[in-house]
Symmetry: C2
């Protein structure tokens, strides 16, 4: 999903900046206390992601101040209609680039990095076409360039490749890095045609009015070019990544393959092959046991393989506005956070126990008339609601297996004590927690 | 799995250190070039994980030097029989603590942090009992304390909670954080008794001779105490975490619940509940659609939920020696790596294309005698081996669906061209990649 690009056309002001920046900062700024150093965030672009980011930062500003010692403050965002990039740059500790596209984003990001300002961006086109120049500018000035939101939204694949696995010998990175196409393929698996599935994706906000960047596979190719660079220390331009989209796929093929135990995904792969590096994006059938086969709907999932780690799989929602904004916030906080140890707890929560849970209950009993009523009565007295009951066996050696809806453990224990006292019970009843799907 | 603890009894030297440290450094040290600044790693403990870490670091030393500018060098490890902690501390840029247990590990880690030396540890007991004191020592000196390997091995849950999600409002962290018990429960689901499953886990190296720390749930409880602290800024001591193990579980219960669509896992949970924080470890049944339900064998998986991110799930092998060593290496490299941009590519790989893949092939054709032979012949000429064939329909409007084993795309295209020329074909054949399970 490329909703991080929905603000692409929001900014056209040039680097010299002719319009003026409003002096009134937004949101969190107004809460700055005397003595607290503000951390000024220059926001470029105010589309879907830009506005979601500004709102999320305001909501989390006090928490961020607590863990970093500085209150993040967003000034007025640069848009096509207002704001001056040079003024924003001058007044910021870090720049968040959510304009999308190549220009003017490239000029702005390079100018910011060269000025030693940290940059957080969600711009996969820019990184997949000009990544090396940006990385070089960051290294030269010592500024940080962070871009988790450019790949798989909240799925922290950039951080894991650049940090957790910086020392590792990676064999393969592959996965589902476009939520739009994964949603469409999930719909087609359920019988929709491509056109129906696309229309559904658009109506649910998972595909843009012009979906070509996503459905052609080009969005995924840009992401795989960036991941290949990070995993294999090899610069890869998007034009070097062969990609194939999903527009030509037939529901028939998905159905036939399903009979063979196969499910269809748009898979991006970067792997060591034949002494070199192979990077590509293609629709591919996976057997049902494959870890990526069960990733359905607008989700992303990436698996990293290396001999020493075996494999790590990370999954989560593909980039929606709020999810992309969360990834940007994570990167921003990382530029503010001294590495080391967790901040001291400022507002710890009280520990609570005896929380509610569903339960499985197993009873060995003689199957007498009224037995179930007695058991159900003991449960009902404690407020337990029975979800399902299965009896195994008959007569003197029956077993009753029940699932009850969530109730507090103390109440369940009380009910079990009452049940254990019933004269037809043949052993102490056993209980095991059940996590209900509704909790998800 | 608590294999990171297998070296628990390796060191008993006291803080004053009476034995002497060999002057001859191991491995990577001998490769240091003039002009290259070594990064000296003081290794405490040389059990399963310690020795795996030393070997892995030697293997990856040149790569780490390339990305960090400093060559990591491990001196002789501190063990019960040799080494002086004060001398190791004095001569090290960072300390890797793989002794396990509380003392002398606690004294060593506190001494190192107080001296401003970064510490990487896999010691979940220490963190779940004395975490705040260690965090405070790290903050006071500005040294880093990293401990990814203490939780879920290579699954980067500590890094994601402390960095990617540092600004987030987390609602729940839950998952499978003990590989030993997950392996045993997987075996019991296949019909083994608890005793049989435990014996199998021990024979495969997934359980220790004394498995009580794992099977009692205490190992998972220590990990959940630490995760709760990171996710909810609330200090939690292991003694405050109610936990229940798997020793008392009956194969019968697993089988009965299976009929109800439920699978059994040992689940650790830390979540906001009733205005406070609930942290616990219990066996729990999950419905088959639950993301944790499909995590089988000695694997770990953790899901983090928050409104803004929806949820992120991370999975990978529970800590074996090499996996734990990899997590330690990732943390070590993070202490050496300036944050910012990827290192310049030093040894980029050549890009290769036309790599092999399995393929699904769909052909609309008139079903004539010899048709399959002609198709198979065209594929055979290109070296394609047929894995399965299904025919749909009969006569003039049949469809043939095939899966072929991996071959180069150019050869597949050549075969499809030949097949397309056959006179009984009714449309151009279609091909879609198939990722074979053998690749995993």
């Amino acid at each position: 999903m490329s909703s991080s690009e929905t603000s692409s056309s929001e900014v056209s002001a040039d680097v010299t900046g002719r319009s003026t920046l409003s002096a009134a900062p937004l949101g969190a700024a107004t809460e700055a206390q005397p003595g607290v150093r503000a951390f000024k965030v220059g926001l470029l672009g105010y589309g879907t992601v830009g506005s979601a980011f500004a709102a999320l930062l305001e909501e989390r500003a006090a928490h961020v101040e607590r863990i970093t010692g500085r209150l993040p403050v967003v000034g007025e965002a640069l848009t096509t209609s207002k704001g001056s990039f040079p003024e924003i740059l001058e007044g910021s500790d870090a720049i968040v680039e959510l304009i999308g596209g190549i220009e003017p984003a490239r000029d702005y990001v390079l100018a910011a990095l060269s000025a030693g300002k940290h940059v957080i961006t969600a711009n996969k086109q820019l990184l997949s076409q000009h990544g090396e120049a940006l990385f070089e500018a960051a290294r030269a000035s010592g500024a940080q360039l962070r871009f988790e939101a450019a790949i798989a939204g909240v799925v922290p694949v950039v951080r894991v490749l650049c940090e957790s696995l910086a020392g590792a010998h990676v064999e393969r990175v592959h996965g589902i890095v476009n939520g739009t196409t994964n949603f469409i393929l999930s719909e087609m698996t359920r019988g929709s045609t491509y056109a129906q599935a696309l229309a559904e994706a658009q109506s649910q906000g998972f595909a843009e009015a012009d979906p070509s960047e996503d459905v052609s596979g080009r969005d995924a190719a840009a992401k795989m070019a960036i991941l290949a660079r990070l995993a294999f220390d090899t610069p890869v331009h998007i034009d070097e990544v062969p990609y194939e989209g999903i527009e030509h796929l037939k529901t028939d093929d998905i159905q036939y393959a399903r009979e063979l135990g196969l499910g269809l995904k748009l898979i991006g792969t970067a792997e060591r092959r034949d002494g070199g590096l192979s990077v590509s994006v293609h629709p591919a059938f996976l057997y049902s046991g494959h870890p990526l086969a069960s990733v359905n709907g607008p989700f992303n999932a990436v698996t990293v393989e290396s001999e020493a780690i075996t494999e790590i799989t990370m999954s989560g929602p593909g980039a929606g506005g709020l999810q992309t904004a969360s990834a940007v916030l994570g990167d921003l906080v990382s530029t503010m956070l001294p590495p080391g140890a967790p901040a001291p707890p400022a507002d710890p929560l009280p520990l609570v126990s005896d929380v509610e849970s569903g339960f499985y209950i197993h009873m060995e009993m003689a199957d007498r008339p009224g037995a179930l009523a007695a058991v159900a009565g003991a449960l009902g007295e404690q407020g337990a609601s029975i979800k399902s009951v299965v009896q195994h066996g008959l007569g003197e050696h029956a077993r009753l297996v029940m699932i009850v809806h969530p109730l507090a453990e103390t109440r369940l224990r009380e009910a079990l004590k009452r049940i254990g006292d019933l004269d037809f019970l043949r052993s102490t009843p056993r209980a095991i927690r059940v996590i209900e799907e509704e909790y998800l």
